[in-house]
């Protein structure tokens, strides 16, 4: 070795020694001097916060019968993806080991976990293949422990406490669209509501429609937090602190399960009957509401089984729910259906005429047809009936009386505004009354999905024209002066779609033309008529009951407004509607044959409605209230494309009263017609 190397090796010694000294010194500083401080940091890293989910509150009917129950249950799930990846036989051996633990057979398990693909008959798993497939609910703790403690024996099998939603359907009541449904919370909803992420990602259910969505925050409750210590293996060793969850409140509704079930079947039967009579009906709604704004029953046809939402909805089920060919059962036609009210609208037209100065004591001519602005409007083929009072006109439902009144009112109205394209034009006299009865805007019911319907005000017409003349339906492009009927109308609309013509005014007075209402709007307007003029925002929820049994909140229908109609006029109209059912000439008389109409407790007053729109069968409506004096209930059935109101809707309404009061051998849903008090015992 050369001397230079030896010198440099000596320097290397020193360098190594310096490096070792640096390591040692730093180590002393980190471990001994700042050790305690870092130990605290390390301990903080060794606890984990676990969100303890709150049990969601249920929804019950007015007697406390459960419509929706939410429980947590120990659910055993199979992750087939993991099984297929980790076992050579696609989990066959694992499932064979699992079957006896769950007191079932391997065959059942393998059927439950196979995917519903082409050629596979149910039972099979119709959800996502990536989702753990629940194979057993309400498993005992012992079984769950056995599965969890032997992950080697049961790879891909989990036993977890999960929320289980159930729809008991008491007495067959299934207001699926009213209840709404629950779906796993999305990331966006989570961010929006600032919710804590629970360990059960994707299992947190949130109300997506109906009452479940409307009362979601009260039903959800508040999740608790458990701080646990974690050991070397990441296993939980103990609980450091705990904030218990606050379970969700139970929603008591004013829905009556017995009546709801009856209303559903009455609606179904009426639609079946109308179909047999050759009408192409595919939707309809029936509503029972108290005159103080509480919804007692609400049925929408077609219905669906809400259990399709639990455990993942299949593609077929989804297509059925949202498909046009099935009638879109997901929609609640009681609040979302927009139909022409037909002659049931003559009630507001009468009120508007009286408000405009026409006397309730006067008589009005009912010819077989009237000519307005060169157009002929007839009275549905009836012979001329001569001079009629308002009462008689309502009883026989004379269209020409209202055509005439509407034309006269149109003539006396602000005609200049009728022919100007002006977004700020004043509302016509008759339409102002219709708006005052709550049409043309939300009723404010406690459901998230509601349509507004249409009242053809001048402003509405202006925007209809503006949106469709050169855009939307593009009348100016598609219309033609000498084309088909539709083309001629479009050509006309292109030129003067914004004008409010007398013919339109006449047709709107009998609830047709541009007029559209939702069944709930109509029922609610009749409730205001029946109760003496108070228009409520209807309520389905009646109270929220805390898990302790205490009433957390009472819910009463708020007053929306008062009708600008004198109580004398209202009572006159009520009396006339009694005649519709009791008078032999009344349009509702035949349907109520055999009904104890003369008994003051059961007496029904109502109005038929039949509306025709171009290219469709007539819609059938019957809006009613009962008893005739001091009415308590409004019952309404509305079935588009089902023929005359007297034929389809009125008999259905009569059956609903039979069920409500317990007539004709039916069991009374609300004995004596009394609306029940809040239930003492609530299913939780």
């Amino acid at each position: 070795m050369i001397p230079a190397s030896r010198r440099r090796l000596a320097v290397l010694y020193l360098i190594v020694a310096a490096m070792i000294a640096a390591l040692g010194g730093r180590l002393w500083y980190v471990q001994v001097m700042s050790g305690p401080q870092l130990k605290t940091l390390a301990d903080a890293n060794q606890t984990r916060d676990i969100v303890v989910p709150a049990v969601r509150g249920g929804i019950v009917d007015d007697q406390g019968k459960a419509l929706v129950t939410n429980q947590t249950a120990m659910v055993v799930s199979v992750n087939m993806m993991q099984l297929a990846q980790t076992t050579p036989d696609d989990g066959k051996a694992v499932l064979k080991r699992l079957a006896p633990l769950l007191h079932t057979s391997y065959r059942t398990l393998s059927e439950k976990t196979r995917l519903c693909t082409k050629g596979v008959k149910p039972p099979c798993w119709s959800g996502s293949p990536y989702q753990p497939i629940p194979v057993a609910q309400d498993v005992g703790d012992q079984t769950a422990l056995q599965i969890m403690e032997e992950p080697k024996q049961f790879p891909g099998i989990t036993a977890q406490v999960q929320p289980v939603v159930d729809y008991p359907m008491p007495d067959g009541a299934n207001p699926a669209q009213v209840l709404g449904y629950l779906q796993p919370i999305t990331q966006r909803e989570m961010a929006k509501e600032h919710l804590a992420e629970t360990g059960f990602a994707g299992d947190d259910l949130v109300g997506q429609a109906g009452l479940e969505a409307e009362y979601n925050s009260a039903l959800t409750g508040r999740p608790g937090k458990r701080t646990v210590s974690v050991n070397a293996g990441g296993d939980v060793t103990g609980t450091v602190g705990e904030t218990p969850p606050k379970n969700g409140d139970t929603l008591v509704t004013s829905l009556n399960a017995t009546l709801q079930s009856d209303v559903q079947s009455v609606l179904n039967n009426a639609i079946t009957k109308a179909r047999h009579a050759g009408n192409s009906v595919n939707q309809g709604a029936a509503i029972v509401e108290t005159t103080s704004g509480r919804v007692v029953a609400m049925a929408s046809y077609p219905g669906y089984n809400p259990n399709v939402w639990t455990n993942g909805i299949s593609e077929n089920e989804f297509r059925y729910l949202f498909g046009g060919s099935s009638g879109e059962p997901i929609l609640n036609y009681a609040t979302q259906g927009e139909y022409a009210p037909g002659s049931t609208f003559k009630v507001t037209s009468t009120a508007a005429a009286v408000a405009d100065g026409y006397s309730l004591d006067g008589t009005y001519n009912c010819p077989s047809n009237v000519s307005i602005d060169g157009q002929n409007f007839n009275n549905d083929g009836e012979p001329p009936l001569g001079a009629l009072s308002f009462e008689q006109a309502l009883i026989v439902s004379c269209d020409t009386v209202y055509y005439g009144l509407a034309y006269q009112m149109w003539q006396a109205d602000d005609n200049k505004a009728d022919f100007q394209a002006n977004p700020n034009a004043p509302v016509q006299k008759m339409q102002r009354m219709e708006l005052a009865w709550g049409f043309g805007k939300d009723t404010g019911v406690d459901l998230p999905e509601e349509s507004t319907g249409n009242i053809p005000t001048r402003q509405w017409l202006y925007y209809l024209w503006k949106d469709n003349a050169h855009a939307g339906q593009n009348w100016c492009k598609n219309g033609s002066e000498y084309g088909s009927y539709v083309q001629r109308i479009e050509w006309q609309d292109c030129k003067s779609g914004y004008t409010w013509e007398p013919g339109q005014a006449a047709i709107a007075a009998i609830g047709q033309g541009y007029v559209d209402v939702t069944p709930l709007q109509l029922a609610n307007a009749y409730a205001a008529l029946a109760n003496g003029g108070t228009l409520y925002k209807p309520r389905i929820g009646e109270a929220l009951i805390a898990p302790s049994g205490q009433v957390a909140a009472k819910i009463s229908p708020p007053v929306a407004r008062h009708l600008p109609v004198s109580s004398y006029t209202l009572s006159y109209i009520r009396n006339a509607l009694h005649g519709v059912v009791s008078n032999g000439a009344g349009t509702g008389y035949a349907a109520f044959s055999g009904y104890p109409e003369n008994n003051g407790n059961y007496c029904v007053a109502g109005k038929t409605g039949t509306s025709q729109s171009f290219g469709k069968n007539a819609s059938s409506v019957f809006a009613s209230f009962s008893p005739c004096q001091h009415p308590k209930y409004v019952v309404l059935v509305m079935i588009p494309s089902a023929g005359y109101g007297a034929d389809a809707a009125a008999p259905a309404v009569k059956q609903i009263y039979d069920d409500l009061y317990g007539l004709q051998g039916h069991k009374a849903a609300l004995p004596g017609g009394r609306f029940p008090a809040l239930p003492k015992k609530v299913h939780q």
């Binding site: 190397s5 290397l12 010694y13 001994v32 401080q37 940091l41 070397a232 293996g233 990441g234």
Partner: protein, 415 residues
């Protein structure tokens, strides 16, 4: 021996030729000066085995909880690391038995083999782990990490080139010429570049520093050393200025300066590692009682971050023992270099010493926040077959140098 004709001053033992020499045992003969057993550096073997044993225990403690939780055999890593250690020790004895001068003759082939291994990483057989394509898949689920063997290739090739007689500039000084240094750098360049491509920044730095130290220790003229240092300083400044380092390399190199700044990204490893080491305190929490390193808070805990397990579970005392043993191994290696007359042997020993020193310093330093985070195993402690084989072969080379050099008793250490 005893003088003929000189009167005896008493009993001087048996006269020569009177008896046969006393038969001494094989062990005694092995242990006598120049004996077979004395030729081994037993202290080095003892230190190596102690460190390897501690490493096996730490790997076991680091992996058992996680494996148990996953439902696998908690002793998987224990069994495998014992197997690698036994095979590695056998390799060490085999290498030590071969005269190191043979290795000098084999250097071109060994160098070529390590280069080919590195090139194989680029073929489809190469495998990526954590973003670094640094492994070759073997049948049976085994993997080779060629960059570990690249260190051996570099040490041997540099030593061989720097010790060639024809490259000794002037025989009177014995200093290698600048040309030899240039050749050594040229030979090392492909290894360094291939490792850099993987990318394995830590290993690359070890290679570079080992090469530099070997060239310096070879006795090359001091002004060449100074000039080289100046060029290196200018070059690294240019590299930083020209952004030649990849983005991830820069963040990792600088993250250790601000550990809290980027906890979710590059700073996480270092921050968690420091907390783990610090929470051990003076005496540690005891083997298998480290909640932190066992709870999957520290990533790569059985390989690059094995020292965090030592820090948390064995405390300052245990860490000091590990650093002490590493220092002892390096001391023995430099001692061997010091006592070797032969340039090749001296350079091999010095290269191995520098390799172990620098690698240990970076690995431990990154867990206590004084070095940037780079993927790099701790010699003898971290889990990994390729690493332990390469380390053991290096120890074998040290032994071989010690056993076969001619004058191993001639020089005395100054301390």
């Amino acid at each position: 021996m005893s003088g003929l004709g000189i009167p005896s001053r008493g009993y001087g033992g048996p006269r020569p030729g009177t008896f046969l020499p006393r038969r001494r045992s094989l062990l005694a003969r092995g242990l006598e000066r120049g004996g077979l057993l004395r030729s081994w550096d037993w202290l080095l073997i003892l230190g190596t085995l102690a460190l390897t044993g501690i490493g096996i225990m730490l790997v076991w403690a680091a992996t058992a909880p996680g494996l148990e939780q996953a439902g696998a055999d908690p002793h998987t890593y224990l069994k495998k690391s014992i197997l690698w250690a036994v095979l590695g020790a056998a390799l060490m004895f085999v290498v030590a038995s071969i005269d190191y001068r043979r290795f000098r003759r084999w250097t071109p082939y060994l160098y070529g083999a390590s280069l080919l291994l590195l090139l194989a990483v680029l073929t489809p057989a190469g495998q990526s782990v954590n973003g670094a394509k640094a492994w070759i898949a073997l049948p049976g689920g085994f993997q080779i990490e060629p960059s570990e063997f690249a260190k051996l290739g570099l040490v041997l090739s540099t030593a061989a080139i720097m010790s060639r007689h024809r490259d000794i500039g002037r025989p009177s000084t014995g200093r290698p010429s600048l040309k030899a240094a240039g050749l050594a750098i040229l030979a090392a360049a492909p290894l360094i570049l291939l490792v850099e491509r993987e990318p394995a920044l830590g290993v690359m730095l070890v290679l570079v520093f080992t090469l530099i130290v070997m060239i310096v220790v070879s006795g090359i003229r001091l002004y060449w050393v100074v000039a080289g240092a100046a060029i290196a300083a200018g070059g690294s400044y240019a590299v930083v200025r020209a952004h030649l380092l990849k983005g991830y390399q820069l963040t990792r190199l600088t993250a250790f300066l601000h550990p809290q700044a980027n906890l979710t990204g590059a700073g996480y490893n270092g921050y968690e590692a420091k907390i783990a080491v610090g929470s051990g305190g003076l005496h540690g929490q005891g083997l298998f009682h480290g909640t932190f390193t066992g709870g999957n808070f520290v990533p790569s805990v059985q390989t690059d971050f094995i020292f965090t397990v030592a820090g948390e579970e064995l405390g300052f005392v245990g860490c000091a023992v590990i650093i002490g043993l590493l220092a002892f191994i390096v001391y023995r290696a430099i001692r061997i270099a010091w006592r070797t007359d032969d340039m090749f042997g001296m350079l091999v020993a010095a290269g191995v010493a520098m390799w172990f020193t620098f690698q240990s310093f970076v690995n431990i330093g990154m867990t206590i926040g004084i070095m940037p985070i780079t993927g790099l195993p701790l010699p003898f402690i971290s889990y990994g077959g390729s690493a332990i084989f390469a380390d053991m072969i290096a120890i074998g080379l040290l032994q071989s140098v010690r056993r076969h050099h001619t004058l191993f008793e001639s020089a005395r250490l100054p301390f």
